[in-house]
Symmetry: C2
Subunit: 147 residues, 2 copies
DNA sequence: AAGAATTCCTACTTTAATGGTAGTATATCA
DNA sequence: TGATATACTACCATTAAAGTAGGAATTCTT
């Protein structure tokens, strides 16, 4: 039941784009430096975001990435779905307990409820919320060791 | 964000004990046969449940395992915690956003909310609910391919 | 036209977790 | 004493996670 680095870094990439992407393009190099993450690894992750249409890439010098929509229209759900895959705790939870390959009939209602509870959290939070927090944290000068 | 077989099988073991453990001991062999799972693998899992005090073992012939408390006093939360470990989506979510090694400050509130939402689901459901469903499903003769 | 910056694409690597299997020792009942 | 169980330890195969590496293609700048 853990969120992987793809999901976590994905949120950081998107937040970075929301905060620093005012004038079009932000390069992965810049993001990697600011976030202290490997540029090459971020490349993989931003590809996932790109495939889902959450970011757009611009090739060549002065190129980079930018959001395709305003931050308030991008939910944490869509970012995590793009990077983590489904947030369902078991595969069949998405089909509301229906299952083809297997079925823990007795437990399916648990997974459905967890899934829905999770969705209700991440569908309410948008990238704008994260961007605002990011700016506020920066201003406060709060130290935060990132990994 | 997936529940592993340990958590899923753990629930099935416990449900089996709740349904079939009226007269003291149920052997792993019986559970493995009924649930179509490997006895040896279940051994590992039931050890986790045993360590947490959810089941008690009786060695030797006619031995086996039994619940230590009535099913209505055993939550799904305690079973999943014993078998899966923490249900927090990231390590720091348990400490309410406090972190020692790392901290995605901007996102910690997301993880906390997911964690709490998940807990509120699994803390409300007890083994009794599962046992009742199991008995009902059996009576209805519903076919369910288990894996 | 050249060179620098940048994404795009493919492949590889390392490490840890998952999902088991196997064998033997130990305890208990009949 | 023998059959039946759990207890304990070790091993193994497969997959996923996390990251690295190198070069091709594209575009801006000079």
């Amino acid at each position: 039941m853990k969120i992987s680095t793809k999901g976590r870094y994905g949120l950081r990439i998107m937040t970075d784009l929301a905060v620093n992407g005012a004038d079009c393009c932000v390069s992965l190099k810049d993001i990697a430096e600011r976030e202290h993450l490997s540029e090459k690894y971020l490349e993989q992750i931003i590809n996932l975001l790109s495939k889902e249409g959450l970011v757009k890439s611009v090739r060549g010098a002065k190129g980079g990435y930018h959001l395709t929509r305003p931050p308030e229209e991008i939910t944490v759900e869509s970012i995590l779905k793009a990077t983590e895959g489904s947030l369902a705790p078991v595969a069949c939870a998405e089909d509301n307990g229906k299952c083809e390959n297997y079925c823990d009939c007795v437990t399916s209602f648990i997974w459905t409820q967890i899934y829905e509870a999770t969705l209700s959290v991440v569908s309410r939070i948008t990238l704008r919320d994260l961007a605002e927090r990011s700016i506020a944290t920066e201003k406060s000068g709060l130290e935060c060791i990132k990994k």
